[in-house]
Subunit: 508 residues, 2 copies
């Protein structure tokens, strides 16, 4: 039996192309291949998508924001109609639970983001016009003039999907076409979403190449894509290894690239908080670090606790909870391999394994819930190695002798998405907080108090970003509308331009 | 006689250090060395400045915006008090006319920018807080947490000076310390400005390392500076060659760098405009392109004219005006050498020399006003080579057969600061304008109608920026407050943080 190869969405139609080979994703709950076969798209096809996207960009720039909004809303409605099929496919491809996770949390989050982006497109607030009427100078943020390449992560098959998630919504809201590269862990989900998106494109009369989608391409073609003169910008969410290579290619060509790459999300638990509610914090930590098998970019993977009786009890509590719980199914074999490597690296750099540390038995891809321990002195000897991100249910606990040592640890931290401080509620930890906060603040995008960092609220005030290497630029956020749109815009000034030639809405 | 070596402003005091050698600037009007000797600062001293700047950053973050404003205002007042000495020194170092240029235009522009930055610091508008009170999430733009390195250009010894100009003012307004590297063409002016700035730092009680200044350093130390973990960001204005090397270093380390590197500032003159007022446009072009010996980043160096009788007359008029005028004094020997190389490169790529093309006689550094001509076909054969920037009184005129050819030319243009279209006033060129504008728009930061692009108004609506390689990122501007401040900020979110711990002003 000859199996069909899935088509890609290229230049305004679904096309089955020879490509540069094929691949087949796994069902991570069974550890066996899924039936579908997907093409590896060739360089020539990638360039064809760029040409088509570039032409669509010209049309979209001149398209009314209301029309863009209609598309985003039609897409959201289409996703809701196909919810069951999407949930089935995403579950088969990722092992994530159907309910509540996929059906009741992630899918509604995705449609909510699309509708928030629709509102932003309709209202046009993201343009942020600045007017100097006396001097006849106007400026505002405008589309990039080329397609946005979106490469989504493995861990949110809907909400960060390259053809439906937050980056997609933000790029489209600013009138940019999208060229989406599916994540290899869920090509079938991405294909379904692209089908719904393309139907909405046609129903609302946007240029057909507003949305294009492919599954995979050779590395060199990917580097050419993100650095091509016709590309507007790239949004990448994934591993630091891949992200840094893409960044190097885009940077050399002067093309904007927004990356979300890695984060250990340091948590500092102060002594007063431990004495006041140590049991509760240990439970929160365990729940947050093992939620979704720990596969969140905001997973608390690095916890600084005082080297006191209360701190040691916290470590013992955490170890017991992690060891007692069944590990969840991972998103794929690569995640499992990555965890084996990361934990070995942490141990090599002096971390002591308290529990877990190896794959769990059975056909499913799973890794035992894992706690490692290091002293502050260990950490200060190998600060880079002991910040290795282990993407899964793994955390490194670091025992600190005093506030000065905690500050010394934090001064060696690289950029992170989040940083969290737990402190006693009546003020006993306030002096420590004041000493620690300035150092943590400048190394993270979101500073949290008294709760774990997992759970990224979709709020205009959210910052899902942070200093390198958590992201590529600490001035932008990937979550929170309309702020996330800013990434996919250029600043356009009109100087002495005749009134009839100015963009609609730029004047008061 | 042993001459003294000028001190650098390092870690809170003026220090004479051995350094890694010395250099001596020229008087460009005489072509002879000026008396002062300046040190080439060593790597160890650069690192010392980084440490001191990093410590100052922590203090400045907690400093009231009003105090920052007082410093900027005291600095502006100090500049006015020393205006005569500054003008004398800048004139000797750059050859720019004392009046009106230095005394009546550039110096007041500089103090105006400092006072606008002071207003922004006092009002704190640049923080742009976003509030989600229901969810207890707040975000705003905050200082970078490390010093900003400013490397200023040769052509504005006051208004873009690394220790007093627009980048300096914007970085300080956002509570960042500055490490200024003087331009080699005017170290004495920069020293005087740094002395006034340092007096204002002390008078207003800011940390002494808020402002540091050195003159030169070996290339490798410069690359280490812009990529060092302690640096906040870098702002560079200068040549593309130097800019791209600094960008590569900063990008690899994930450190923000804002660059203003090169721009030929395309001007499209349409047929109707030529028939209506061709003489006037030729005069405007001549005046703009030779103003300040053409040494402006917004100099009109690339003009597309129709290959018609009116277009040929424009070319002949321009050639006559350029040939008849005495060339101005250049900023230095490097500018002269650069012009010789650039004009040779343009000719090598097929441009025909109509007038000028060589250094003018005499001791001063001067280059004959130069016009080159190419056909659209020539340009389309060597689009990259024929976009070589000649920094001085040089322009390439390109003859276009029709609108389609003009669009084809524009589609090959790299990113520019500005793009200008001259059109007939009653609408005869409107169809051509509509066909051309979308292509020009996406390749420039500022779109101008019916006047030359030189003269960058200090307005909140200004965009002095544009796509690569004009700058490093099309989303930011180097001129126009408060927008220019955004470059020197990071997005900080506070999630569930206790009210008393939130920054002042982040809540409504």
């Amino acid at each position: 039996m000859t199996q069909n190869i899935a088509p890609i969405l290229m230049a305004g139609s679904w096309q089955t192309v020879a490509g540069a080979g094929t691949f087949q994703p796994d069902n991570p709950a069974l550890g066996t291949p899924l039936p579908e076969i997907y093409p590896i798209t060739s360089r020539a096809e990638v360039l064809k998508m760029l040409e088509a996207g570039s032409e669509a960009a010209g049309t979209l720039r001149a398209t009314n924001g209301a029309r863009i909004a209609e598309f985003l809303e039609a897409f959201a409605a289409g996703i809701e109609k196909q919810a069951d099929a999407l949930v089935e496919m995403a579950h088969a491809e990722t092992g994530l639970p159907k309910s509540p996770r996929l059906k009741d949390v992630e899918l509604p989050r995705t449609t909510d983001q699309l509708r928030q982006a629709a509102r932003a497109a309709r209202e046009g607030t993201w343009h942020e016009p600045v007017r100097d009427e006396a001097k006849n100078i106007y400026s505002h943020f405008a589309p990039l003039g080329g397609p946005v390449v979106v490469m989504g992560p493995n861990n949110f098959p809907f909400a960060f999907n390259s053809v439906a998630g937050g980056d997609f919504a933000a790029a489209i809201a600013a009138h940019n076409p999208v060229i989406a590269k599916a994540n290899l862990a869920h090509p079938g989900t991405t294909r379904l979403l692209a089908e719904i998106a393309f139907a909405a494109v046609n129903a609302t009369g946007l240029p057909p190449a507003t949305v294009q989608m492919f599954y995979n391409t050779p590395n060199e073609a990917g580097f050419e894509l993100v650095s091509h003169p016709l590309v507007g910008a790239t949004a990448f969410t994934g591993s630091k290894t891949a992200g840094l290579k893409l960044k190097a290619a885009a940077d050399t060509a002067g093309k904007p690239i927004y990356l979300e790459m890695s984060s250990v999300n340091p948590v500092v638990v102060l002594e007063g908080a431990l004495q006041e509610r140590g049991d509760q914090i240990a439970q929160e930590f365990f729940a947050s670090c093992t939620l979704g098998a720990g596969q969140f970019c905001t997973n608390p993977g690095f916890v600084i606790v005082p080297d006191t009786a209360a701190g040691k009890k916290f470590v013992a509590d955490a170890q017991a909870k992690f060891a007692a719980a069944n590990p969840g199914i991972l998103l794929g074999k690569r995640v499992l391999t990555g965890l084996v490597e990361a934990v070995a690296l942490l141990q090599k750099h002096g971390a002591k394994l308290l529990c877990g540390g190896k794959p769990a038995e059975g056909p499913a891809y799973r890794f035992a819930n894992t706690v490692l321990l290091a002293s502050a002195a260990d950490f200060l000897k190998s600060p880079h190695g002991l910040q290795t991100e282990a993407f899964g249910p793994v955390a490194l606990l670091v025992l600190s002798q005093n506030t000065a040592e905690t500050v010394a640890i934090i001064k060696h931290l690289e950029g992170n998405l989040t940083g969290t401080i737990y402190s006693e509620t009546t003020g006993k930890d306030d002096a420590d907080y004041a000493a620690i906060e300035p150092h943590l603040r400048q190394r993270v995008g979101r500073l949290v108090n008294d709760r774990m960092p997992t759970g990224v609220t979709v709020s205009p005030a959210m910052n899902h970003g942070g200093p390198f290497p958590a992201t590529g630029h600490a001035g932008f956020t990937a979550v929170g509308l309309p702020a996330s749109i800013r990434r996919f815009t250029a600043l356009h000034c009109y100087d002495n331009v005749r009134p009839a030639r100015l963009p609609a809405g730029i004047r008061s």
